[in-house]
């Protein structure tokens, strides 16, 4: 058995297992940790697929940065938040699993019809990665994907602005008026006339 096959068959089940683990564990922290492991297995897959640059980025960005951010927020908001696993929506879990399985089956069918389960990737990726994967990537990125790359910069600015607006707002920028109008708002304003609910605006619908 070739090495890449071995690696795949070790990491693929691990990947699935950690994915499922992320769902079933109670604690959000544990779920995040499962996800970190999962991301790592995916990074290994990248390696198998001759994408060493993405392997590195995956570990640095996802496992390193994003998941740390997640853990940070989990800790910030309290570890036990939303830990209740009790099914509060009737049939949600069962249906979700059914549709999940359905999606897998459907996609697998498409893959089988489109690619074929036995098809192996053609050799010769080495020539594509001739001068090393990162520099080959860079060439494609800055030639063909120059424009989307610029767009991502806009995207990141928007994200930064968004975070700023959302985060800064609470601390200072509430006007007096906003506070004054605060008392009666919210629940009443948005609740849609639940029977006997706290007075909707203007009474019941005709």
């Amino acid at each position: 058995m070739p090495l890449d096959n071995v690696v795949f068959w070790v990491f693929a089940p691990l990947s699935i297992a950690t994915g499922i683990g992320m769902i079933v564990v109670r604690s959000a922290v544990h779920a995040a940790l499962f996800l970190v492991v999962n991301f790592f297995t995916i990074a290994v897959m990248y390696l198998l697929l001759d994408a060493p640059f993405l392997f590195a980025v995956q570990i640095i960005v996802y496992a390193g940065a994003i998941m740390v951010l997640f853990l940070f927020v989990i800790m910030l908001l309290g570890v036990d938040q939303g830990a209740g696993t009790g099914e509060r929506l009737f049939g949600q879990r069962t249906t979700a699993v059914i549709f999940g399985v359905a999606v897998v089956v459907e996609l697998a069918t498409a893959i089988r019809a489109g690619v074929g389960f036995a098809t192996r990737a053609p050799e010769g990726f080495d020539s594509v990665n001739a001068e090393g994967n990162p520099s080959a990537l860079a060439e494609v990125l800055f030639r063909d994907y120059f424009f989307p790359f610029e767009v991502t910069s806009i995207l990141l600015i928007v994200a930064a602005v968004a975070a700023m607006v959302l985060a800064l707002r609470r601390s200072k920028a509430i006007t007096q008026r906003e506070i004054a109008g605060h008392a009666g708002d919210d629940l009443e304003r948005y609740a849609l006339a639940p029977p006997g609910g706290p007075g909707t605006v203007g009474g019941q619908a005709p």
Binding site: P2, D4, N5, A12, S15, I16, G19, M22, I23, A28, A31, A32, L35, I42, L48, L49, D50, A51, L54, Q58, V61, Y62, A65, I66, F70, V73, Q81, G84, T85, R88, Q92, R93, A96, V97, G100, V103, V104, L107, A108, I111, A118, T119, R120, A121, P122, F125, V128, N129, L137, V140, T152, L155, A160, A162, L166, A167, R170, L187, Y190, L192
Partner: protein, 101 residues
């Protein structure tokens, strides 16, 4: 490489589905969001696999863009979740249901 490319694709599909289920079964906004992250990663795997299949790097570039997008989404998403938490003291999305009907 000896492993058929479809294996990666199917693995990706399974991970995508797991991500979807993760979105659906947990009321905690953060864990929902983790599910989404898993989905995006699954798609990245597909992209890289296809890139390998087509013997070109475009797929990897797409995966790279996808990571950037994911990062941006995380920033905004976590900020929103925090903002909601500050307002309602919960990250349980099921509790956030004044808008309905």
């Amino acid at each position: 490489m000896r492993t058929p490319i479809a294996y990666f694709l199917v693995l990706s599909a399974i991970l995508f589905a797991i991500g979807s289920v993760a979105v659906l079964v947990r009321p905690n906004a953060l864990r929902i969001f983790m599910g989404v992250e898993l989905q995006l990663n699954a798609v990245n795997l597909t992209l890289v696999a296809f890139s390998r299949m087509h013997l070109e790097l475009d797929g990897q570039i797409l995966a790279f863009f996808s990571m950037v997008v994911a990062a941006a989404e995380v920033v905004v998403g976590l900020a929103i979740i925090v903002a909601v938490f500050r307002r309602t003291a919960t990250t349980d999305v099921d509790r956030a249901s004044v808008l309905r009907g």
